[in-house]
C-alpha cells in the first residue's frame, strides 16, 4: 500500500457571526466604500426579496424563490466578478444579478411569467435564470471555452445549490473544465436544504468543496454568510482562471432562512429551532457590526440606505406592475431567427384568436 495522492479541504471565514475578524482581511476590505456598497447591496436584496414575497402573497407575482439568508453568498460573487465575465445563475441569486446590473423589475417580470425579464439590462452576455438544476454549470463551462478559444481574459461563473451537486451535469462540467483548464468558477451555495431534502440525505460527502477532487481541481469551503470571505475567494479563483490555471469549485456555507419558494411550506419538514439558530448567523448583522465598530456605518446611514432601497424597490414594482402583457406574437417571433413558413399560419391564427378573444 502506497499513498499516491492526498487532498485537504480548507474552510475560510474572515468575519465571525458577531462581526469580529478572524484573520487578516483582504485588501478590498480596507476600502470603506467597498464594504458599504456590499452592505447596501445585501440590504437591497433583502428588501427586494421581502417585497417580492408580498407581491406573491397578494396575487401580483407567480411562484417566487426567496434569497433570504443568502445575501452574502450572492453579493460576494457579484462583487468579485468583472462586467465582461459571464454569470450563469440558478434562480435565486438576485444579489449577484443586481450587482451586475440586472434590474429589479426584470426579475419581477420573470417571476411574473414574462420572458422579457430575461432580456435584461445586466451584462447582455450573462445567462438568464436557470431552473433545470445544474444544467447551467455546462453553459458556464461552454462560455469559458469560448473565451479560452478567443484568447479573451474573461471568466464564467456558475451558481448552483447543494442539491444541484447530485446532478450528473454538475460533475460533467467540473470534469470537463478540469480537463481543459477552462476559466470558470463553480459556486455551490450550500444552504443545507434542497426543498425538503437535507444535506445528509443528499450526499455522504462531508463537504461539497471536496467534490472538486473528483475533477482534479481545487475546491474550498467558505463561510457563505461572510461576504468578505465569499468575495475574496471568488476573486482569487477568478484571478487564477484568468491566468490560465483553470477552474475552481467554491462551496459557500449558508442557510435558506425562507421556504424553498412561495409554493413551499418548510415548516412541514424542518424544525423551527434549526431556522432560529441559523438566523443568528445571517450575513447582514455581521458586516454591519464590523462596520459600526470601526465607525464606517451608523444608524443614520442605515436609515438612509434602507430608505433608498425601499424607494428603488417601489419604483421597480411599479414598473413591473405597469408593464403590459407581451403580444401573443412574442411566442412566435423569438422561436427562430426567421419564422419558418409552416408557422406563419399558426401565428396568424394566434393573432386572430387573441383579437377575437377566443382561446
Amino acid at each position: 500500500m502506497e499513498t499516491i495522492a492526498d487532498f485537504e479541504i480548507q474552510h475560510s471565514q474572515f468575519l465571525d457571526p458577531q462581526g469580529e475578524p478572524q484573520d487578516t482581511l483582504p485588501a478590498f476590505a480596507e476600502d470603506a466604500d467597498s464594504l458599504r456598497a456590499m452592505y447596501a447591496s445585501m440590504l437591497l436584496a433583502r428588501i427586494f426579496d421581502t417585497k417580492a414575497v408580498n407581491l406573491q402573497r397578494t396575487g401580483k407575482l407567480g411562484t417566487y424563490a426567496s434569497c433570504l439568508g443568502h445575501e452574502a453568498s450572492h453579493v460576494g460573487i457579484g462583487a468579485a466578478m468583472r462586467p465582461e465575465d459571464c454569470l450563469a445563475p440558478s434562480y435565486r441569486e438576485y444579489g449577484a444579478m443586481l450587482w451586475r446590473g440586472v434590474q429589479m423589475h426584470e426579475i419581477l417580470l420573470y417571476w411574473g411569467g414574462d420572458e422579457r425579464g430575461s432580456d435584461f439590462a445586466g451584462p447582455r452576455h450573462d445567462f438568464p435564470f436557470c431552473v433545470p438544476i445544474a444544467t447551467q454549470c455546462l453553459h458556464a463551462a461552454g462560455a469559458a471555452m469560448a473565451y479560452q478559444l478567443r484568447g479573451e481574459p474573461r471568466c464564467a461563473v456558475s451558481i448552483n445549490g447543494d442539491g444541484g451537486t447530485s446532478e450528473g451535469a454538475f460533475y460533467e462540467a467540473l470534469n470537463m473544465a478540469g480537463a481543459k483548464k477552462l476559466p470558470v468558477v463553480f459556486m455551490v451555495i450550500n444552504n443545507k436544504w434542497a426543498i425538503s431534502v437535507p444535506l445528509e440525505l443528499q450526499t455522504a460527502s462531508r463537504t461539497l468543496a471536496q467534490k472538486a477532487v473528483a475533477a482534479g481541481i481545487p475546491g474550498i469551503q467558505v463561510d457563505g454568510n461572510d461576504v468578505i470571505a465569499v468575495r475574496h475567494w471568488v476573486e482569487r479563483a477568478l484571478e487564477r482562471a484568468r491566468r490560465g490555471e483553470g477552474p475552481t469549485l467554491i462551496e459557500t456555507l449558508t442557510y435558506r432562512l425562507s421556504d424553498h419558494t412561495t409554493a413551499d411550506d418548510a415548516s412541514r419538514y424542518r424544525p423551527r429551532e434549526e431556522v432560529e439558530t441559523a438566523r443568528k448567523l445571517e450575513p447582514l448583522i455581521r458586516l454591519r457590526r464590523y462596520m459600526e465598530t470601526r465607525g464606517l456605518w451608523n444608524d443614520e446611514r442605515e436609515q438612509a440606505c434602507r430608505a433608498e432601497a425601499i424607494e428603488a424597490v417601489d419604483r421597480a414594482v411599479e414598473r413591473y406592475i405597469n408593464t403590459p402583457r407581451a403580444p401573443v406574437t412574442a411566442m412566435f417571433d423569438y422561436l427562430f431567427a426567421n419564422l419558418p413558413p409552416g408557422l406563419v399560419a399558426q401565428r396568424e391564427r394566434a393573432v386572430r384568436r387573441a383579437g377575437g378573444g377566443a382561446h
Binding site: 420572458e115 433545470p132 440525505l201 412541514r268 407581451a326 412566435f332 409552416g342
Partner: protein
C-alpha cells in the same frame, strides 16, 4: 366511499398497492417527509416508513436508473419526477434500458417500474413547469404512456400501471389534480391499460383527447349539444400502445375526427391518431381531420400561457370548422 380529487386518487392507489405488495417502493425528490411537492405521496412515509418511501438525491437519471436496477431485481419501484420539465435527464435510462430490458435479455429480466410525471400547463407555474412532452415517449417502443383524466381513472390506471410487468410512464395532468372530486371506492380494482375510454357517445364527430384537455373537450361537447351537435368524446388514456381500433370504429360511425391536445401540434400525439385514421378509416371520413393543439412554439411563461393552450373556445372552433368543412 371516498370522494377524492385526482391527486388524492393517486395517493390512494399508491397506498393501496404498497399495503398489498411489499415490493412496491416509492422514491423521488421530496416524496418523503414533504409528501411530494404536489402532495401525491402525502402520508405515505409516515405509514410505510422511510425505507419504502425514499427521498432521493436530486438526480433524475439516477432516479430512473436505480428504478431499472430495482425493478430488474424483483422490486416494483414507483418513482416520481417532480415536473415534466425535469424528466429529460431520465430519457436515456428510459429509452436505452427500461424500455428494452425484456427484449434485450429475451425475457430473462423485466422492468416493472412506473415513472409518475406531473405534466402540462395552466397552473401559472414557473419556467420548465408547464410542458407536455408525452409524444416523445409514445414513440419509444417497449414502454407504455398512460395518462389519466379523472380521479377514478387515476386510481384504476395507476394500479394497473404498478401491477404491469413492464415499464409505464404515468403522466399526471397537474392542472386537474384538484379540479373536481369523484367517488372512487378503494377496492383495489385496476382499470385496463391499452384501451381508450369513451366518455360520451355521439354521432356527428369523434373528438379524441387525453389528460387535462378532456375537461375542455367535455365542456365543448356539452355546449355543442345545446346546438344539436352530437360529439363522441374519447379519452385515449393509454397513448402508447394506442388502441387504434376504438378510434377507428368511432370515426367509422361519425365520419369526422377532431383531436385535442395541449402539446405542440407537430409530431404530437394527435399526429399518430390522425395517421391511423387516415390509413384505416379514410373512406369513412367526410371532412378533413383537424387538430386543436398547442402551437409549435415553446410553451410561454404564464402571462401568455392561456393564449397558448387550447381552451373550450378553441375546441368548439375546431369542431365547428370540421362540421362546416
Amino acid at each position: 366511499m371516498a370522494t377524492v380529487t385526482l391527486i388524492e386518487a393517486v395517493t390512494m392507489a399508491l397506498a393501496h398497492e404498497m399495503a398489498r405488495d411489499e415490493r412496491v417502493i416509492v422514491l423521488g425528490e421530496d416524496v418523503g417527509v414533504n409528501g411530494g411537492v404536489f402532495r401525491a405521496t402525502a402520508g405515505l412515509q409516515q405509514r410505510f416508513g422511510a425505507e419504502r418511501v425514499q427521498d432521493t438525491p436530486l438526480a433524475e437519471a439516477m432516479i430512473a436508473g436505480v428504478s431499472v436496477g430495482m425493478a430488474a431485481q424483483g422490486m416494483r419501484p414507483v418513482a416520481e419526477i417532480q415536473f415534466e420539465g425535469f424528466v429529460f435527464p431520465a430519457v436515456d435510462q428510459i429509452v436505452n434500458h427500461a424500455a428494452r430490458l425484456r427484449t434485450r435479455t429475451r425475457g430473462r429480466l423485466q422492468c416493472p417500474m412506473v415513472l409518475r410525471v406531473p405534466y402540462g400547463g395552466g397552473i401559472h407555474a414557473p419556467e420548465h413547469h408547464s410542458d407536455s412532452p408525452e409524444a416523445m415517449f409514445a414513440h419509444m417502443p417497449g414502454i407504455r404512456v398512460v395518462i389519466p383524466s379523472s380521479p377514478a381513472r387515476a386510481y384504476g390506471l395507476l394500479l394497473a400501471a404498478i401491477r404491469d410487468p413492464d415499464p409505464v410512464i404515468f403522466f399526471e395532468p397537474k392542472r386537474i389534480y384538484r379540479l373536481q372530486k369523484q367517488e372512487v371506492p378503494d377496492t383495489g380494482e385496476a382499470l385496463p391499460l391499452d384501451v381508450c375510454y369513451t366518455l360520451r357517445e355521439g354521432d356527428d364527430v369523434t373528438v379524441v383527447t387525453w389528460g387535462a384537455m378532456t375537461y375542455e373537450t367535455l365542456k365543448a361537447a356539452d355546449q355543442l349539444a345545446g346546438e344539436g351537435v352530437s360529439c363522441e368524446v374519447i379519452d385515449v388514456a393509454t397513448l402508447s400502445p394506442l388502441d387504434a381500433e376504438t378510434l377507428i370504429e368511432s370515426v367509422e360511425k361519425t365520419g369526422r375526427l377532431v383531436i385535442v391536445h395541449e402539446a405542440p401540434q407537430s409530431f404530437g400525439g394527435g399526429a399518430e391518431i390522425a395517421a391511423v385514421v387516415a390509413e384505416h378509416a379514410l373512406y369513412s371520413l367526410r371532412t378533413p381531420i383537424r387538430r386543436v393543439a398547442g402551437y409549435d412554439t415553446i410553451m410561454p411563461l404564464f402571462r401568455l400561457e392561456s393564449e397558448y393552450m387550447p381552451g373550450v373556445a378553441r375546441v368548439i372552433e375546431g369542431i365547428r370548422e370540421t362540421l362546416e368543412d
